[in-house]
Structure formats: structure tokens, C-alpha cells
Symmetry: C2
Subunit: 341 residues, 2 copies
């Protein structure tokens, strides 16, 4: 079982996942190219993954057999496991607990497709439904307080398999980055009585220069203080703190928006490695007025060096206004053939 350890200075938690342990000499020096020679996520290879937790299936098909459209399985090398007790304890100045939680893989399609943007929009909508269903289910476990849905696309973004997939890690403590966002947003709310994300969105829509996409229920923009070239945030126009409370109609629209934005990034940056992360409020609150769920997409074009590690400062070489203008112009419809090929 892994342990969660807390840095006593910053309050940041670390997962010490000894079951993933390697000998020092075993670390790969460079990101290996993602092989597609064998694909454990392929329809027909259901026995090559741990048994499924959830799958959207065709009628009359059976668990862990072909016939699924989107499938969720436990991570084969989980950072956290659902079994056991937290056993929170101290060691002198230090705090630690058992690595209780969930680490799941969302296999987004039954065939080998590496790009989510090339999946049919109905498929992407079902992936979003799966995110919601898994969060709603795991939220009922009183030991767990936060769920992080994320995607690693490409080796440089941390993916180890090419087949389009995303992951969900549910933790027994609120991650420090979520905590920092919540705290910053609460301070603003206490001072102004408004949601800072709503204010940001309003200013972005008024200014227009950083907008990538504007649909009835969503805005996509390059944030004013983007850390990375071509970083994009997808934000729902209607205030809501919890992604899992998303209405059905918004999921439909979000599917189209996500396909469009990822398609734009792929065309603009020649199929870049990227991460996206759903930022959503912890499980232990109901809808709150000061936090606003959103999705952050970060193309991984540049390397993080010592300055970034030491300072939390980022150096971005592309003006967010320039990136947004560029992405606005990218026409994924005109390149439909390329994206669906």
C-alpha cells in the first residue's frame, strides 16, 4: 500500500507509491515513443486490463467482453487504492496516512485512436458522462474528498499508452493546487461578493482579444496570465462549482466545444502533447458561490526548468492574445477530412 506524506512547510502532499518502485538504474532517460504494437485498451483485449468498473455497452453484451463504447478500469499500477483505512498518524513533525483513494482509467473508444479530437462528438459526450458518473459514485465514499479528472496525451505529457484515454484520481485530502484556487476565489468573494471566475469571464467577453470560442453555454479563452504557450481554459457561462452537477444539455454542448478546441490545438500545433484537467470543487461542499468549475488545457511544448520549480513563476514566450487570435482562425471544419481521417 502506498502512503500519503505531507510536506510540513508548504502543506503539499506526496504519494509515495512503493509498489511502483524501481531500482535507480531503471528510470527511462527519455520519454519512450508510444508504441501501438500491443494495445491493451483495444476491444477484444478486455482481459488485459483489471476488471471494468463501468462501461457504456451495446444491449446484450457482457462486462469485460466486447461491445462497449467507453470503458472504465482501475489503473493497473495505481497510485492509490480503494481498500483499507486511512490510518492518519504522525511521525514527530511529519504527517502521513495510507494511500486510500481511487485511480481509474477511462478508455475513450474501443478502437485504436490516439486523438480525442478525432472521435465522433457523440463519443466525446459519452466520455464526459462517464467522468460525471464516476465522480457521483466516488463522492459517496466518506473517506474521499476530491476527484481529479485529467488527460495525458503524448509521451511528453506523461502518457504511457497511445490509445486515447483519460484518468481519474480521487484523494482523501484536498490537493494543494485546488486548495490554493479555492482560497484565492474565496478571498475575492469575501471582498467583492462575486465569483472571480464569473468576473474574469465577463471581462474576457467584453475585451474579446483572448477569446478562442464563444458558444451559448461556454467560453474558451487563453488566460491573461497563461503559464504555457497556447494554454486554453474552457469555462461554463452559468455559475457552478461542481463539474458533476453539469446539466445534460451542457454536456452535449461541452462535447462539441472540447472536440473543437482540441482539434484547433492539433491543427495549430501539429498534434502536440498536452494535458487537460477538470478543476472542480471538493466533494465535501454543496454548490458554493465562490468557486467555478472549468477545464484547463495545457499544450506541453516547453520544458519546466529550475526557475519554474524554484519560483512557481512561468516564462511564456507566446502572448495569450496572439495565441487566441491564432486559434480563432484555425478552422477545424475546413480540415474535417484531416481530423476525422
Amino acid at each position: 500500500m502506498s502512503d500519503l506524506r505531507k510536506d510540513p512547510i508548504t502543506g503539499r502532499w506526496v504519494i509515495i507509491a512503493t509498489e511502483r518502485a524501481k531500482r535507480p538504474q531503471d528510470f527511462p532517460r527519455d520519454a519512450p515513443a508510444l508504441t501501438t504494437a500491443f494495445d491493451p485498451f483495444l476491444e477484444g483485449n478486455e482481459d488485459k486490463t483489471p476488471p471494468e468498473i463501468l462501461a457504456y455497452r451495446e444491449p446484450h453484451t457482457h462486462p469485460n467482453k466486447p461491445g462497449w463504447r467507453v470503458r472504465v478500469v482501475p489503473n493497473k499500477f495505481p497510485a492509490l487504492k480503494i481498500e483499507g483505512t486511512l490510518d492518519k498518524r504522525g511521525e514527530g513533525i511529519y504527517d502521513l496516512m495510507h494511500g486510500v483513494g481511487a485511480h481509474e482509467v477511462i478508455i475513450e473508444c474501443p478502437h485504436l485512436e490516439t486523438s480525442m479530437a478525432r472521435l465522433p462528438v457523440e463519443n466525446i459526450r459519452e466520455v464526459l458522462w462517464v467522468y460525471r458518473d464516476r465522480l457521483v459514485d466516488l463522492k459517496r465514499d466518506p473517506r474521499l474528498v476530491h476527484g481529479l479528472v485529467f488527460k495525458n496525451k503524448g509521451a511528453a505529457a506523461g502518457a504511457s499508452l497511445a490509445h486515447s484515454h483519460s484518468q481519474l484520481i480521487v484523494t482523501p485530502v484536498v490537493p494543494i493546487s485546488v486548495w490554493e484556487e479555492m482560497t484565492g476565489a474565496l478571498e475575492f468573494y469575501n471582498y467583492r461578493g462575486r465569483c472571480i471566475y464569473c468576473d474574469i469571464m465577463q471581462q474576457e467577453l467584453a475585451t474579446g482579444t483572448r477569446i478562442v470560442l464563444d458558444t451559448p453555454a461556454f467560453v474558451v479563452f487563453c488566460p491573461f496570465a497563461a503559464r504555457f504557450p497556447f494554454e486554453c481554459w474552457i469555462m461554463p457561462k452559468h455559475h457552478s462549482s461542481h463539474f458533476e452537477n453539469i446539466p445534460r444539455q451542457s454536456i452535449e454542448e461541452l462535447g462539441s466545444v472540447l472536440k473543437n478546441v482540441l482539434g484547433k490545438l492539433e491543427l495549430a500545433l501539429d498534434d502536440p502533447p498536452y494535458n487537460y484537467i477538470i478543476h472542480t470543487a471538493p466533494f465535501d461542499t454543496k454548490e458554493i458561490p465562490h468557486y467555478h468549475w472549468h477545464i484547463e488545457i495545457i499544450p506541453r511544448l516547453t520544458r519546466i526548468a529550475g526557475f519554474e520549480w524554484g519560483s512557481g513563476f512561468y516564462i511564456n514566450t507566446v502572448l495569450p492574445e496572439k495565441a487566441a487570435a491564432f486559434l480563432r482562425e484555425v478552422d477545424t471544419e475546413a480540415s474535417h477530412g484531416q481530423l476525422t481521417a
Copy 2:
């Protein structure tokens, strides 16, 4: 001129360095291997860098000519520049200012050596003296509030040149990571009346399991909540908040300690890419009782993926106790030939 922009939610600053701007298609997809074909840092190539700011030289040699041992030049592609005014201003909800600051390169030796651990210890001591001298000098500029000394070793750690060098970025705002450390340490101090780093060090010395090196004035250990496999912290035993206040005798000892630890990491992990960062208090305070300068060394063996970006959580696959035990055993003396070859 670059701009500093502040994320209104978290308070994190970003440097938008447009002079380094690239077209989207210009981003390198993988870290290029570090070429040594042409080395602008070599003795004799002084005209291939901007004019020197400081150099430790042999008697009767001239600035920007051969005869130096350690040399400091402005970064050719600086993130921040010393000229101009801050011009702090708002744009609606957003804050920004001009990118005033310093971005310097410390060339650690006149010949082509890629490994700091292989430099003679006297050479390393002079590099440390240069760090101190530059901090003391830049501290006098009232616009600047913090100096971050760091090293990127190897392409995967963000280096673009193979010749052993480090960098100094001095900023007009306190970086958020420094702020978080200072705040956490102050909270502990307010509650317990002691420096948290002193307490940590005391517990580490008493436990012993995470100690890598223990010398009269310094302790090197793998931190309890290490984010990365083989992460090591070098901490002075005598409490001090500012690196630049280091006494002469400690610099002598720190030179040996740094050479030893970097040598251990190189031997243990087969010359890994790494960063080190000097964590030190901002310029605008005198010695303070709650902060304690130290050096964090992070081998860059694993990739940062979506989970880490979204959560601030890290997954470390090597027990810090195991890493420390391994590093304790590595004998850099026995491998003297290899390290000095």
C-alpha cells in the same frame, strides 16, 4: 520588453517574454541533445556572449578576454531586463508590470566540462562566491525583491547548453513558491516559536534514515515528503535565512558538500538530468528567525503529467529512506578517477 502578469485567482506571476517569441510551428517537440560542437562559454569565445558583469580572473587579464575562472554574463535571451521602470498597472481585474529584473548566467569553468561534480572543489567554491557576490550586488536595487539561483543540468532539466553553468533570475515580486514557503514557516514559528527547518533537521539527525551526508556545518537528506525520486536537500546547521549572509568558512565546506552530493547522484543515477535551486529569503528582510535557506536538488527522472499539474500532488516511486540509504553508500572517493576524468 517582457511583462509580468498576475493570475488573479492564485496570485501566481507569469513572465510573458515576447522577445523570445516563436511562431507556433517553431517549438521543438523533443529536447534536443545538447551539442558541444560550438561552445560560446569556452575561454576564448568571450565575444560570443554579452559583455561580462563579473569575472574571477588571473592578475593582469582584461574583461571579456581569456584568463577568467568563473564568469557572469547577462542571459542572451533574458526573461527580465534591468533597464526601465516597473510601471505597475491594472487592466480591469488583472495586474501587470514591466519585466524589470535580472537574468544572468554563471559560467562555472573556462573549459568544456558538463558536470559540476567533476570540477575541482576550489572551482565550485568560487561559483558559490559568485552567487553570493551577485546577490549582494543586486539586492541594492530597490526595485528588486528576490533572487533565485538555479542550475539546469541536461536537456531534460531545461538546459540548452552543455557547458556547466547556472543562472540567476532576480524578480521585482516575491515568487509564489517562495511566498508559500515563507508563509508556512511563519505559521509554524508563530505557533511554536521555533524555525520549522531547524526542527526538521533535528528530527532528521535523530532518525538518521533519510540522512545522505552529515558534516560539521551542513546536513544533506532526502526529505520526508520528497516529490521526486532521489530529491536531496542541503541545509546549513546554523540558522540563517539569507544565503548571501553565508560565512566564508561555510562556503568552503558547502563547496565540498555540493561536489560530494552531485557526485553521488551522478554515480548512482548514471549522470541524470537535474535541477538545483537555492531557496533563500527575499531581499526586503534582514535575518529572520522563521526562514532557513537551503538548496534543493531534484533529479529529473520522471515526467510531470496532468495529475501533478492539476493537483500539486506528486507521485514518488522511490521511498526517501531507500534513496538516502542508496546515496549514503555511493563512494565518490573510490570513484575519484571516474569523477575527475
